[in-house]
Symmetry: C2
């Protein structure tokens, strides 16, 4: 932060920063696995696109940011981590209400790797509830900008907990499935994969599934997925930088397929983790 | 913050607080004019309702919070100020992703009074542009919860600046007028007032206009206001805790009415400021 490396307990942002007071910020999170960044280039692409759309500018280029992220990892000593880069609108020294007067700020931090699903859940598959809460539509907030507008997702999550589920999927304005708190969702039916297209974050792990499908010769498409279709799938899984590919074996009261982690999900998960040592997909971090 | 009073430059929130990382927070802002809180009770009502809806809990009751806000003002010495109270989800000490594990946090701060419109703009009326950006609908985020999801408003604001205007109005999902960055909007036609009802924040200054109308015998209603209707009004004004009642004399390329601050707007503005010394509407702060 502000050119300094600090322990996490000291990493704080001014309460007057519009990144906090207006959630006027974009961010990206890349993960490090066994000392290697996974697909960092794709995360940097999205981060820079988000900043451009929000008309934010930083005094750092891609390689500066890569270096800062590497330093965060090296200084923290984490071998497997979650590294977040953030650009906030910043604040105005004159209390101006004009966002053009603000000095945009960069923050980066590394925390230990975390997953949407714990190891037991990964083994047996997650129990997900579909909420009636509607994902903030792209006409309000461009979903191509990775953002912190999560109150819809948090509401869905509380509703899911109320119904005894472990996490949530929320819907789009047409009541089709959108996404969950920090993840995209895929279904497999008769060997073909499908994932929602409208108003969802274009997740890097989602993109990675497209790439893995192409390598494995699996057919995947994007399009509307309604509640019934999802429950009737042979397999369902979610994708997130926080955990990778994670099976869903129960949706509301419906058991998905035979209720265990499916073969397509297993095949993709295996290849996903193999790619973490592939130099085309990952890059080593230099620990001092 | 955390039971301490600090200079603003030291008032910082952890980057790991979900109030920042998920904009999982509610807040309210009350203003102090000439050493008196204005309608503090209404702001506290809304703040507590928002926390309840977000399932947040603080170890403070209403009178504790009132005391903290008074102390912020007294310590800052401001006679006219903007006082913000915030409840964030907080963070989890174990990096859990479950918001139920978080310890909710309270933050309050006082800054000098600021206005949407400067004194020149108040005198001649604001120039507002109507954006095509859609206000986040209530099916996504309950507009009764005052929140920091502002990327739609910020986008509208940038578009307004691009077109040479001074601030923005954004629309609802049916392309009717919703609200602007931090304010509601009213129109006056043939002596009757109207303000949008759907998906807008129930502003305290908006409520105050209802109360002033009732006192002055003016008719006011809530309902859909389309772009043409607004531009065809005799008078238009916006309402915000940050500035009170502020005239709009130009919308896009259209001059509103005769292009000067209208008589109903003037009458309401005058009574609005008079109420700031009325003990029924305001309460003195005890400066030590």
């Amino acid at each position: 932060m502000d050119g300094q490396y600090l322990p996490m307990s000291e990493a704080k942002v001014s309460v007057l920063d519009w990144g906090f007071l207006h959630s006027d910020a974009t961010y990206d999170t890349v993960h490090v696995w066994d000392g290697r960044f996974f697909r960092l280039d794709l995360h940097l692409d999205r981060f820079f696109r988000g900043m451009e759309k929000l008309r934010m500018k930083l005094p750092y280029n891609r390689s500066d940011i890569e270096k800062i992220l590497s330093n965060c990892i090296a200084l923290s000593g984490h071998k497997s981590a979650y590294v977040e880069m953030i650009c906030t609108r910043g604040g105005s020294p004159t209390f101006s209400r004009d966002p053009r007067d603000a000095e945009n700020r960069f923050i980066a931090f590394a925390v230990p790797f975390g997953s949407v699903a714990n190891s037991e859940q990964l083994e047996r598959g997650l129990h997900v509830a579909i909420s009636n809460t509607v994902r903030i539509p792209p006409k309000s907030v461009d979903s191509a900008i990775k953002n912190y507008h999560w109150l819809d997702l948090v509401k869905g999550l509380f509703e899911a907990y109320d119904s005894g589920a472990e996490t949530a999927l929320i819907v789009d304005i047409n009541d089709n499935i959108a996404e969950g708190p920090g993840f995209n969702v895929f279904m497999v039916k008769n060997g073909r994969l499908k994932t929602p297209a409208y108003g969802v974050l274009a997740g890097i792990t989602r993109q990675t599934v497209f790439d893995l499908c192409s390598e494995l010769g699996l057919l995947v498409s994007t399009g509307d997925v309604d509640r019934g279709e999802l429950k009737d799938a042979d397999e369902v899984f979610i994708t997130s930088t926080a955990g990778g590919i994670m099976s869903v074996t129960r949706i509301d009261e419906t058991v998905v397929g035979d209720g265990t982690v499916g073969s397509v999900t297993r095949q993709l998960t295996e290849l996903y983790w193999k790619k973490h040592v592939d130099p085309a997909w990952s890059r080593p971090i230099i620990y001092e």
